[in-house]
Every structure is written in C-alpha cells, then in structure tokens.
C-alpha cells in the first residue's frame, strides 16, 4: 500500500481537468466583469465587480482542486458504462433538436424510448407505443386542459387541431 492508501492513482488526472475548467470559468467571469463599464456609484461596487470577485474565487478554487488532486488523489471510481449514457444523451439531443418540428408527442416518444433503452428495455415494440401513449396523455392534460403552451406538430394538429 502506498501512503495514500489503496485508492486512486497519483496524480489524479480528473482533478486537473476539473481544475482547468474552474480556472477557465473564473477567467471568463473576470473578463466579462472587466468588460462592463464601471457604474459603481455610491456603493463603490459596480455591476462588474461581483462577477469579478466570483471569478477570482473560482480561479482560487481551481488551484485548490489541482493541489488537492496532487496530494490526495480521489478514490478509484466505479467503471462507467458508455452505452446507456449514449442512449440517454443521444435521446435528449435528438429530442431537443427535433421537438419544435415534430411536436411534443413524437419528441417525448423518442426521449422515452431512448431512456428506456438506456435502462435495459430494448423491446422497441413495447417501448415506442408506451412513449406515444404517455406523450398523448401529457399533451392532453397539460396543453389542452391546463393551457401550458407545448410545441405542436403533425400529430397534435391531427388529433387536437392546434
């Protein structure tokens, strides 16, 4: 056993990437805060100052994360399965890209089917009709009854006439 225990590698690669991300986010806030004309008025604190403060804090936290990742590498993480992740994210992305043309019902059918597939339900002849049914039910309750304005498409036009 190493002095750090059985956990982790040295140095912790993920911690450095997180640290980089934090420093980048902090730098973005500092840059954007500096871009804003100074209208501090009586308070001495203008609209750009708090973002700058948060930006500097993020940079410090990023440096802290890097140091922590060097000194105490985190425990080894459980193996992540990429296939279900891809199903789920893919379903989200396709749904986001298409929902305004194909409408809420078909969009949520795609999302439901992909999510079910991500959790191991690959019988599409069961999942697709279930998603369709759920989408129609939600559209009927929330758009027609509760007047929530959900995106419509061909199916919504044909059934609900809007």
């Amino acid at each position: 056993m190493t002095p750090n225990g059985a956990s982790g590698r040295r140095p912790d690669g993920a911690a450095f990437i997180i640290a980089l991300g934090l420093v980048a986010l902090g730098a973005l806030l500092v840059w954007d805060g500096g871009r804003i004309p100074d209208k501090a008025g009586y308070s001495g604190v203008g609209p750009g100052d708090v973002p700058k403060l948060i930006g500097y804090a993020l940079v410090l936290l990023g440096i802290g994360t890097a140091i922590e990742g060097w000194r105490n590498p985190g425990p080894k993480r459980a193996k992540q399965h990429p296939v279900p992740l891809l199903w789920l994210l893919g379903g989200m992305v396709v749904m986001v890209a298409s929902i305004h043309t194909i409408g809420f019902v078909l969009g949520s059918t795609i999302l439901f089917t992909c999510a079910a597939a991500a959790f191991g339900e690959r019988r599409f002849h069961v999942a697709i009709p279930s998603g369709l049914g759920l989408g129609l039910f939600i559209y009927a309750v929330f758009d027609v009854l509760l007047q929530l304005n959900l995106p419509g498409g061909p199916i919504e036009m044909a059934i609900f006439g809007r």
Binding site: A14, I18, L22, L25, G26, L28, L29, D32, G33, I36, P37, K39, G41, Y42, S43, G44, G46, P47, G48, V50, P51, I54, A57, L58, L61, T65, E68, A78, K79, H81, P84, L85, W87, L89, G91, M92, V93, M95, V96, F104, S108, L111, F112, A115, A116, A117, A118, F119, G120, E121, A127, G131, L134, G135, F142, L146, L148, N149, L150, P151
Partner: protein
Amino acid sequence: MDTFSFLMQGLATAFEPMMLLYALIGVTLGTAVGVLPGIGPALTVALLLPVTYGLDAAGSLIMFAGIYYGGMYGGSTTSILLNTPGESASVITALEGNKMARSGRGGPALATAAIGSFVAGLIATLLLAFLAPHVVKLALVFGPREYFALMVLAFVTVSAAFGESALKGLVSLFIGLALAMVGIDQLTGQTRLSFGVPQLLDGIEVTTLAVAMFALGEALFVAAQGPGNEGAVLAIKGRVKMTAQDWSRSWKAWLRGTGIGFPIGSMPAGGADIASFLSYATERNLTKHPEEFGKGAIEGVAGPEAANNAAAAGTLVPLLTLGLPTTATAAIMLAGFQQFGLQPGPLLFVTAPDLVWGLIASLLVANVMLLVLNLPLIRFWILLLKIPQPWLYGGILVFATLGTLGVNPSPVELTMLVLFGTLGYLMRLYGYPIAPVVVGLILGPMAEQQLRRALSISQGDPMTLVQSPIAAVLLALAAVALILPMILRARGRGDVLAQVGQAED
C-alpha cells in the same frame, strides 16, 4: 390579533374545499415521490412550478408544502423495505428500518415511522406558527448588511460545513453563484455573461437548473452504473401496527427527534439529513437496548423519522419570515413564491396574512392526511416500488422536459437542460454536491443586491459589514462553520461529516 386567532383564520382558509383538494394532491404526490427512488421533493416542486402558473397562488404553495412534508413521510417506506432511501433525509432510517423489515418487523417499523412523522409534523408546525411572528419582529431590525451576513452563513452551511470536502462544496456553490450572474443586473440594468444571446438576458431559470441537475443528472448517473443495481422489495410481514412495548420505546424517541429536528431545520444549519443523523446518534447513546442497534432497534427508526419531519417544518421558518432558503427544496419553493409575485419575508405576514396563515394551517391538515395515506394505505404505495427502472426513468425524463418546456419552450432552454444535466452527472461522478449549486443560483443575486445596498448606504466603506453586532455575529458564525469542519477533517474526524453531507433535498 394574536397568533391563535390568526391560526384559526388560517384553518378556515385551509378547510375551503379547493384548498383541501390542493393539499390532498400535494401530499399524494409528495408521498409518491418520497417512495420512488431517484426523485425527491426538490425535483417534484421544480417540475410542478411551470404547471401552476395559471393556478391559485395560495393553493399552489399549499400543494408545494404538502409535497415537502409528503416526501419526508414517503422516504421512510423505501428505506425500510428496499434499503435504498427514497430521499436523502431517510438514509439513516435505512440503517435500522431495513434490519427490522428483514427480521419480519417491517410492520412496526413503518408504523413508528408514520406515527413519529405525524407527531413531529404536528408539534413542529405548531412551533412554526408560534415562532414565526417573533422571528418576523426580529427580521424587521435587519438591514441589508444583516441580510447579507445571514446569506453568507447560509452559503457556508449549505456548501462547506458538511459533506466529504469543504473544497468540493465551495466549488459547487461558486458554480451556482457564477450561473446566477448571467442576465441583466438588477440594480443597473447592465447585461452580464449573456454573450448576445437574448434568451440569456432573463438569467438562468431555477426550474431548468434543478430539473437538469436532479432529474437528468441522476438518470445519467444511474444509467452509467450499468444494469443490475435494482434492489429487491421486502414484503411486509404482519400488520402495520405497534405493540405496547413498541409504543413505550417510540414515544420518547419521537419527542427527542422533534426537539433535535426543529431547531436544526429553522436555523440556517443545513437540512433534514443532519437532523436525522443527530437524532440517530442521540438514540444510540440513550437507548436501554444497545444490543439491538444495528440489528433493528425501533428507536433508531422513530427518532430520525421524527427529526426529519420536524426539520422540514423548521426550514419553513427562515423561508417564510426572512425569505431565506436553507435547503434545495426550500430554494425552489422560494422560486414558487416569486412566480406569483410574492416575496417571502417579514412583509409577507402583513401584506398577505391570509396566504401565510392559510399555508401554515393547511400543513396541520396535510399532516393528518399523510397519516391516513401512510398507515392504512401503505400497501398501495409499495406497488410503486415495483415499477421497472426503464419505465420509471423514461417517465421522469419526459416530465422533466415538460417542466422546462412549460417555463420557456425555446431551443436555448432545452440546450441548457442537456448541458446542465451533463454537468449534474459529472458532479455526481466526482463527488460534488448538487444542492449548493441550486441554492447559489437563487440566493446569489439576493446576496449581491444586499451587499451593494449595504455598501451604498455606507458610501463604499466595507467596514460597515461588521459594524452592526448582528451582522458581525452572523459572519463570525459563518467563519466558524467554514473553519471548524476543516480542522475536524484534517484530524481525521471527517467521516462523520461525510455521512451527514448527502444533502440533496
């Protein structure tokens, strides 16, 4: 008028048929989400926010509070029968409750959880009613600098005081604060961090962030662990009933749990998880049956369950009187108030007494409803645990999109949903807590406003922040809450804090 007559008036509001219906919907939904693993009260309130735009303000808020209470009740069922907590405050219940269910005493475990929740909810709601007007009086002497100090204290306790690492908590908090900067500055009208995208000018919706982080992030995380992580549901053997011995061992634990839970919930000191953990530790020290702890001691179920319900009621004290949310659920409920143009705080008790007292009184009603839902009808809720994972998460995600579409059906909003969902997954993967992001997003702009107001009043002198005794004490407490846990962790006592810090709801 005194508290008692206000409360009577509130009860009159709460017994209007429509209000009873809203409360019933709230507690039913709350129990359902409490029972279902993977969704908690914070997410449910976030999902329902857009749906309630067109509905009655008082009714919607009563429904949200019902969800919060119901989530605390329902969570215990899952902990006891599945050993997977339905919501984070029930982690402790799983320790003893699941052991009791395994040894065939699931019935008494469920009964002591439900009755304990009822006793605690009742006492804590009454305490809320009688304490709130006094806190309101105190709040009237609060100026911008005191509010700012209070928010700093809330930031520290939510992010850094508990959990496995102060660094990770602070990182989460500052990500939330950074996101809070997006949009138009409330004092000068300057646009910040919007990069010319018009949809960003209104800032980032709390609903979108909460739904993305809690629903999509959680779904991605569970999916990425691969198949075969579903637990088996234990059947309830025997009746959901307690013997005389169970009663005599439970009632003191309920009262102690309430006594621990309510103050912890009502101070900006973290939420129900900490209360239930402390209650468990107390029961373990005081018990006459130490040999049963770890093998299914009924006190270990009764105390923590009472504590987490009392803490949920306690959380409403700072939320209603100061407008200060101390948990993620409370933060989203605050967004709910703002949606109806209401700003919780001392003024709300003057401008909308019907609403405030109606809300408090209907919590008493909701508590009675929950006892009925959770004792005689318990077997119905257990059926929810048999929904297969693919259908459950498919449904959750469709509802999550619905929530975002209801706020703002723009492609930008949906893209943010996907991005924040991925962020939520990565944060879970690397052990960063989620709740501080949500609290940072909603409290960030408020804290900034109070800070700049305080500095305007003092014409830019930062010493003003510590020149009022109340503000100085609050800031000192924040410093202690930040530094003390760091010392404890450095001395290797951090495992206790890590166990407590599962704060999600």
